[in-house]
Amino acid sequence: MAYSDKVIDHYSNPRNVGTLDKSKANVGTGLVGAPECGDVMRLQIEVDENQVITDAKFKTFGCGSAIASSSLATEWLKGKTVDEALAIDNMEIVEELALPPVKIHCSVLAEDAIKAAINDYRVKNGLEPLVEAKSHH
């Protein structure tokens, strides 16, 4: 199977790889997937007092499409408000990266990671968790 140029670009030059300090109250961490399934994503956001995501980092264990999906997600998250981030749909990632049908689960996982990170941030700040994870392969 051939990868799209955008997947190859994100895989070769992943954006925002790294780790934020998860003990900080304004950092939300989402860890989704499982090693047995062949993909695990960890996505982190740092949120300022205006509910704007100022930084986003990821690390992913998975195929090229999973790495690209999470790399793209961090790019999109930076500068968005938390509410705007919640609106990101996995199909936008599919479209942007031209993922084939067998790789759609990678985009679903990225969306789940975003939502899990936001929930973690909300819970840390005394808010109710908002959304249910979408992932089920």
Partner: protein, 404 residues
């Protein structure tokens, strides 16, 4: 000068040896006759070429040239052997013994046999990938007609105790079929010494052409017959109808001859390179060899690089062509059933790469592969949350993962 990508997937298929191509070419053009045409020189030339190829192949596996049935490849040979024996020996019994690590061409054929009312026992393998001979013998009943155990495994290269299996089969009067696809041409295979009654193999795994293979069917002690699975002109002693693929058969013959004459020197060189590749890669932290180190084909190495996913890794080693036990592209997301049968956890199975060397592999290519894989593993571990957790001393088994 290295030419990219470097081909290290020789268990999938081998490049054809130029000497094989040269031998085949006249049989596409000048000598195009049908080997079954008995009435003119065109047919005679074709038949003569086929007979010569039979001798070349017979010499490689130590059989009589008449004991070879030409087919389209190993999958067809597997089907013909198992279905053909099941039908031919129906009055004797309906039980077949095989193993969980067999090729799909054997396993799916066995599933088909079960639908037809046959009984199949699937032997487990140990962590080295080897079957247990006592379990094999214990599984034999008075209804058992066939033992089907492969010679060398395609994914991990593990060589089963063929001679011992042959002895057990003989002792109980059960036929022994082996899928020899990965072994024939690579290591000495002797149907007499090994006690093999039927054996499948293929041209394109031994530097010959695709689309041609053979089934060895013993003619003496005992005389074995299989029911044809295609109806037609009754070629190949009535066991496989269809006009013979003369150029392909000539190629298979030539490939067999080269394998026989060059095996000793080829194998020594290939094994030395394989061992070097393997030893270097196993120096990477948290990397594991899959399958028996000792009972193994000389050109194969299957290694898991923990905390790195195989398909992602293959993308990172794009300058070499290898395959992975990860099945991220398949709908089921299930990793290799062979690796799982060896007892690997899904995460280790997902993290595996299979390297297959050939007589055309060079030292420079191996050098490159070593550094290329080392770099890619290091790069992907930098990206891997699992690696980070491992390095922080977190036991991944205690983490609550979100189910998919």
């Amino acid at each position: 000068m290295l030419k990219f990508p470097i081909y290290l997937d020789n268990n999938a298929t081998t490049p054809m040896d130029p000497r094989v191509l040269e031998a085949m070419l006249p049989y596409f053009t000048n000598h195009f006759g049908n080997a079954a045409s008995r009435n003119h020189p065109f047919g005679w030339a074709a038949e003569e070429a086929v007979d010569y190829a039979r001798e070349q192949i017979a010499a490689l596996i130590n059989c009589n040239p008449k004991e070879l049935i030409f087919t389209s490849g190993a999958t067809e040979s597997d089907n013909l052997a198992i279905k053909g024996v099941f039908e031919m020996y129906a009055s004797k019994g309906n039980h077949i013994i095989t193993a969980t690590t067999e090729h799909k061409a054997v396993l799916d054929t066995c599933k088909h046999i079960e639908k037809l009312g046959g009984q199949v026992t699937y032997l487990q393998v140990n962590s080295e990938g080897l079957i247990n001979l006592e379990e094999l013998e214990a599984a034999i009943t008075d209804k058992t007609i066939l033992i089907s155990i492969m010679y060398g495994n395609n994914e991990v290269g593990v060589i089963q105790p063929i001679k011992e299996i042959g002895r057990i089969a003989k002792k109980h009067g059960v036929l022994f079929f082996t899928d020899g696809t990965q072994a024939v041409g690579k290591i000495p295979v002797d149907v007499e010494a090994d006690g093999i009654d039927l054996m499948a193999f293929s041209g394109h795994k031994m530097y010959g052409p695709k689309g041609v293979g053979a089934l060895y069917v013993r003619r003496k002690n005992p005389r074995v017959k299989v029911t044809a699975q295609m109806d037609g002109g009754g070629h190949e002693r009535g066991m496989r109808s269809g006009t013979l693929n003369v150029p392909g058969i000539v190629g298979l013959g030539k490939a067999a001859e080269i394998c026989r004459t060059d095996m000793e020197s080829d194998t020594a060189r290939i094994k030395a390179m394989r061992d070097r590749l393997e030893n270097e890669l196993l120096q990477i932290e948290e990397s594991y060899l899959n399958g028996s180190k000792e009972h193994r084909l000389p050109h194969v190495s299957n290694i898991s690089f923990k905390y790195v996913e195989g398909e992602g890794l293959m993308m990172g080693v794009k300058d070499i062509a290898v395959s992975s036990g990860s099945a991220c592209t398949s709908a089921s997301l299930e990793p290799s059933y062979v690796l799982k049968a060896l007892g690997l956890n899904d995460d280790l199975a997902h993290s595996s790469l299979r390297f297959g060397l050939s007589r055309f592999t060079t030292e420079e290519e191996v050098d490159f592969a070593i550094s290329h894989v080392k770099e890619a593993v290091a790069k992907l571990r930098e990206l891997s949350p699992l690696w980070e957790m491992f390095k922080e001393g977190i036991d991944l088994n205690t983490v609550e993962w979100t189910e998919h």
